[in-house]
C-alpha cells in the first residue's frame, strides 16, 4: 500500500483557489472539476510527494489535502482515474499573448 493525495471536496469547493493544480510536479494529475468547483487527484498518476499538501497548508492555508492510503480513498474519488476523466474544452480563454 502507498500514500496518495486526497482533496476534501467540501473545503476545496468553498474557495477553489486552484493553487495545488499549479504546483503539482506531475502533469495531468491534480485536475479541476468545474461542475463541483473542486480540484481532484487522478490517483493512478500521483507519486505521493505531498508537495500539494504543503502548498495547501502553507500558501493557500486551506488545509484541504491529506495523504491517505490508496485503499482508503472515498469511493467517489477512487473512480477518478485517468481512464475515466473528462475535460471541458469550451472554457479555454485566450491569454494575453493572443491579443
Amino acid at each position: 500500500m502507498y500514500l496518495v493525495a486526497n482533496i476534501d471536496p467540501q473545503i476545496c469547493g468553498a474557495t477553489s483557489c486552484t493553487l495545488c493544480t499549479q504546483f503539482c510536479p506531475e502533469a495531468n494529475t491534480i485536475q479541476y472539476d468545474k461542475v463541483r468547483k473542486t480540484a481532484f487527484v487522478a490517483v493512478d498518476r500521483c507519486k505521493g510527494c505531498a508537495q500539494c499538501v504543503w502548498v495547501c497548508d502553507n500558501m493557500a492555508k486551506h488545509h484541504a489535502i491529506k495523504m491517505i492510503m490508496i485503499d482508503q480513498l472515498p469511493e467517489e474519488f477512487a473512480s477518478k482515474l485517468t481512464k475515466t476523466m473528462s475535460y471541458e474544452q469550451e472554457d479555454l480563454k485566450s491569454s494575453p499573448i493572443n491579443k
Binding site: 502533469a27 480540484a39 504543503w54 472554457d91 479555454l92 491579443k99
Partner: protein, 297 residues
C-alpha cells in the same frame, strides 16, 4: 511540426489510447492556454520517470504550458535529469550530445528559418547546469556571441544529480556533496551577467514557486528569441535527492533559496521592449517606449 501532426488517421480514432485522444481534443495545440487554466486541459507532458516531488519536473511542466506555440516548437536537451521529462512531452525533442545543445539548436533554428521562411518555428534549449555552464559552456557562449535566435533555459539544480552528486560550476561555494566531501572551493558562476555581456536580449532568473512569473518569463523569452536575439532563463530547480530535501518541503526550500540568493531578476534590452510592445501588445513596455521617444524629441 504543425497542427496536422496531432491528428489521428480518419477511422482509427477509437483505437488510439485515451491519452492521445485527449491530447487531440483537449490539448493546448492551436489554442492559447495559461497556467491559471491548468487542470482543465490535457497537458503535453505525459507520465515520466523523474523523482517524486522534483522541482525540476514542476519547472519543466510550467515551461511546456507557457510555450506560446507548442505545435511549432522543438526542444533540445542533453544528458541530465531534464531530458527524462522533456522526452515524454508531445513536442519534438532533440537529444544533443553532452555539450553541443546550443550548437545543435543553432543549426536547427537556421535550418527551420530556411525551410519555413514564412512560418515561425521556436527552438528552446532546456538543459542542466552541467550541460550548459560546464560541459556545454563554449557552445553556449558562442551561440550568444553569434546572436542565434533561440531560447536557452538552464535547469539549475546546483549539482550533477544524475551521476551521484558531483559539484558543478553552478554549485555554491562551500557546499558539501557526496562526491565533493571537502566542499566546493570556488564561487558559483554568474551566468546571468555573462549572458548580458555576451549579448542576450532577455535574461531572467526565476524560481518555480511562482508559476505565473515562470510562465510570463518563458513567454517573453520565446517571443523575443523569434526576432530580436538570444534569450536566457536560469531557473532554480532543487535536487531533493542530492541535497536531501524532504519532498513535501521542496517548495519551502525554493522559497528560502529565493530569499537567500535567487531573487527574481529580469534584464531586457530596449529593442526587445519595443518588439514586445509593438508586436505582442505588452502594455508595460509600450508606455516606456513612448516616454523615451518624448524625451528624445
Amino acid at each position: 511540426m504543425s497542427l496536422d501532426y496531432v491528428k489521428a488517421t480518419p477511422g482509427f480514432e477509437k483505437y488510439m489510447p485515451k491519452d492521445y485522444r485527449d491530447l487531440i481534443e483537449h490539448g493546448p495545440f492551436g489554442k492559447k492556454v495559461s497556467v491559471a487554466q491548468v487542470g482543465t486541459f490535457k497537458e503535453v507532458l505525459e507520465e515520466h520517470p523523474m523523482c517524486a516531488g522534483c522541482a525540476m519536473t514542476l519547472f519543466i511542466r510550467l515551461s511546456l504550458i507557457a510555450l506560446p506555440n507548442p505545435e511549432d516548437t522543438i526542444t533540445v536537451g542533453t544528458a541530465g535529469c531534464g531530458r527524462l521529462a522533456l522526452s515524454q512531452a508531445a513536442i519534438p525533442f532533440v537529444y544533443g550530445n553532452y555539450g553541443d545543445t546550443n550548437a545543435v539548436a543553432s543549426g536547427l533554428k537556421r535550418g527551420l528559418m530556411t525551410r519555413f521562411p514564412d512560418k515561425t518555428k521556436d527552438v528552446v534549449v532546456m538543459a542542466g547546469d552541467g550541460g550548459l555552464a560546464d560541459i556545454g559552456f563554449s557552445m553556449l557562449m558562442h551561440s550568444w556571441f553569434r546572436k542565434e535566435k533561440f531560447t536557452t533555459i538552464m535547469l539549475d539544480n546546483e549539482v550533477y544529480g544524475n551521476t551521484g552528486g558531483q559539484e558543478s560550476g553552478m554549485t555554491n561555494k562551500g557546499s558539501v556533496l557526496k562526491m565533493a566531501p571537502l566542499g566546493k572551493k570556488f564561487e558559483k558562476i554568474d551566468m546571468p551577467d555573462l549572458a548580458k555581456t555576451a549579448g542576450c536580449a532577455y535574461v531572467a532568473v526565476v524560481v518555480p514557486n511562482n508559476p505565473r512569473r515562470v510562465e510570463q518569463s518563458i513567454k517573453k523569452a520565446v517571443l523575443i528569441a523569434r526576432e530580436v536575439g538570444p534569450t536566457y532563463i536560469q531557473a532554480y530547480t532543487s535536487c531533493n535527492i542530492e541535497y536531501a530535501i524532504p519532498t513535501d518541503k521542496v517548495m519551502e526550500d525554493a522559497k528560502n533559496v529565493e530569499n537567500d540568493r535567487y531573487q527574481f531578476k529580469e534584464y531586457i534590452t530596449e529593442d526587445a521592449k519595443q518588439y514586445l510592445a509593438e508586436k505582442w501588445g505588452y502594455k508595460e513596455y509600450a508606455k516606456k517606449a513612448i516616454q523615451t521617444t518624448e524625451v528624445a524629441k
